[in-house]
Symmetry: C2
Subunit: 427 residues, 2 copies
């Protein structure tokens, strides 16, 4: 539109110089004024808020961070503004990932890395975030458009790629390693990876990358029948990785890929996905800003409003080589960590004023005896009520899969696997 | 913009008729063509999706309802399309109400009634839904703008008013009574009222209206420290009303109004509000479409990921007169209801094929013996772990309050009340 208006101004100027009658020239000037007004209107666009240098706690209507900085005065968070130092990678910008990205953006996260290869469709409109006018755009482009309008303070980096391809995986790993934003020497360039993908292969690829990079991540999922979901914290070497034990799902989850055929699609609800995204980002905030207890695993059964929780130790026989390496490393540093944690706890107990929110660097959560839902187990016989394994043990599954790259094609093998799974479940 | 462009066309036409040189007239025509192009550009606006006549289950990218209609094939919902017959009123379009409205809009609810008197501020940007470019608009106008773009099939009615004023209350009652959309003879013009307000007075006003109209409603709330929330189902005469017992909050909720002074504001998080909105609308869908169990009360403790639940019977000594009338009515119809429910259950048990999702007209939820969190009590001594009363008993509270209209001014009384509450909590 700006181009057309500029051309009109030139045309009007040319016409004016060729006219001799002053009344005609005055008419031209009047039209030109109109064009100039339109130009300034078109240039203004929608009102955007400007970037802010520091997060202020001032209670004025114009402060986008007042309600977040209030978390400090309430004694929930020690230093909220630290959130600007953190980088979070979100893999999969669908029903859960897009809402998680919006929540972190509105919380003023430092930097977001977004990964997806899909485009926005009208069929996605039953979940939050994307708008009908974005249909046809890549999900990454549409997300960057919306998120940058909501909060220009967040550094957004988007990657339109499929992490399950060789090239995609390499770019994914390289982007996680990029330390341009992060000051700390140790670790990767991101503080946390959130997996919001909708299939098993992509989860295994995130697991592989995070095990290789020793990167803490959180996994999330929603069942194909739309009425259950879960989140899970994975710390390489310290907790079970995604290959250590068959992934857990809430209630009677069906194997998600068996449903993805012609004319059949998964059900989804904005409610279930919104709840799972909310629980995921809430635990992300607790992890980054060190408050409350980060849940190792939290399920959501929407039909009964039941929320099973549990913790899983790594499997010493895990099929993932990188996981075994991380387990060895963790066993070496564990005694020193435990001693430091014990010393710190004793020091805190010795002071008269016990802090309300003790620093919890390793996110150790105390298992409450009163809460029967929390168990610490890796035995499939002792799963808490309401939880079942989504698939058989990972090494059994791996035997069925020639390579990670090709596994999407093996629908026949999956059918066979599903029959075995059903036979197992029948017991 | 359209106005300016139209005026320019007139000006150009006038100038053209006053000019004699054909080359000058050709220049005018060229400029006019530009203006016409700009007009069609301005008229087009953003791409909107068109209304659809019926909800289709067809699995194509262009179908906005395919993932919702899939709930039927999955055996979750008997008839999803019934959602288009329902009207839901949402009181308070803030951090919870706006997200609840968006979820119901994306689910294709028939009609939404929205109530709020506030305007959008930058300070609201830490919660989902509103965008910086909407700052200064009323929340109702901004909500209608966004929701109508997302789903033009939903009938939206907005009321920019404060329900705690005399005039506001009258309009509120009248709007709930309006039966133009609803076919059924019994009841009001809405199927459910969702209370998403942020203060005690407004909740008591919703309670009064719903008791008077015998209207089932759901209450929701988020604590001032942003890390806990709850939802509650209230069926006049059948469950406790908001005045029957002191309202329950999760964990250590503070009296919300004591914090609302100059330079002090409540903390809020998009995560907590998103989770509460998700749980609220999930239970709304279960209530309307008759699947799963509707929770009578569900709390959310974000620090521990703990979700206490309970049920409360009405108080025969309730201070609310309309509540007592509804209780009498319910006692009269209860024997017939119980007999009908028993007969239906026996009939279902006698058939060989037991339906997966039995019709649950009265939303009776079976209390599971295994779940220690669910108790059925109205004694404050037997609250489930993690739940406390927000305020003392309603009739104690009422004695402190001269009238509902004037109570906002009585800050000194509240201070006194808070001291009493703290003394009670100290025991």
């Amino acid at each position: 539109m700006e181009v057309e208006l500029k051309r009109m101004l030139t045309d009007l100027q040319n016409l004016k110089t060729s006219l001799s009658d002053p009344s005609h020239q005055a008419s031209i000037d009047q039209i030109r004024l109109c064009v100039e007004n339109l130009t300034s209107l078109a240039m203004a666009g929608p009102t955007r808020r400007t970037k802010v240098k520091d997060m202020s706690a001032e209670v004025v209507d114009s402060n986008p961070y007042s309600r977040l900085m209030a978390l400090q005065r309430m004694g929930i968070v020690d230093n909220y503004e630290r959130i600007r130092e953190f980088s979070v990678a979100i893999v999969g910008i669908g029903g859960v990932g897009s809402v998680a990205a919006e929540m972190l953006t509105r919380c003023g996260i430092g930097r977001l890395l977004l990964y997806d290869y899909d485009t926005v469709e009208l069929a996605n409109m039953n979940r939050l975030f994307f708008r009908p006018e974005q249909v046809g755009m890549t999900k990454t482009d549409a997300a960057v458009q919306t998120l940058s309008e909501i909060n220009p303070d967040v550094v957004l980096e988007s990657f339109t790629l499929n992490i399950t391809t060789v090239q995609g995986f390499e770019t994914f790993i390289a982007s996680l390693k990029n330390k341009s934003f992060r000051q700390e020497k140790e670790g990767t360039g991101v503080d946390l990876v959130l997996s919001c993908v909708d299939n098993y292969e992509a989860r295994m690829v995130v697991n592989q990358a995070c095990n290789e990079l020793n990167q803490t991540w959180m996994e999330s999922g929603v069942s194909e029948d739309a009425v259950s979901g879960h989140i899970q914290l994975l710390i390489p070497g310290e907790t079970a990785c995604f290959a250590c034990a068959p992934p857990l799902v809430v209630a009677s989850g069906v194997d998600e890929r068996t449903l993805k055929r012609d004319g059949v699609c998964a059900a989804s609800l904005p409610t279930t996905m919104g709840v799972v995204a909310g629980l995921l980002v809430q635990n992300t905030l607790k992890f980054l800003l060190k408050f409350g207890n980060v849940s190792p695993y939290l399920g959501y059964n929407a039909l009964k409003d039941f929320f099973p929780t549990m913790a899983m130790k790594p499997n010493p026989q895990c099929s993932n080589g990188a996981c075994l390496e991380r387990q060895k490393e963790y066993m070496l540093i564990k005694p020193a960590r435990d001693a430091a944690a014990k010393a710190k706890m004793e020091e805190e107990l010795s002071t008269i004023e016990i802090p309300i929110h003790a620093d919890n660097e390793w996110n150790i959560s105390v298992v409450d005896d009163c809460d029967a839902n929390i168990v610490n187990t890796q035995s499939s016989d002792a799963l808490p009520e309401g939880l079942v394994h989504e698939l058989p043990n990972a090494d059994v599954y791996e035997q069925q899969q020639p390579t990670t790259e090709e596994s999407i094609e093996n629908v026949d093998d999956l059918e066979d696997l599903k029959r075995k799974l059903e036979a197992l479940n029948a017991h």
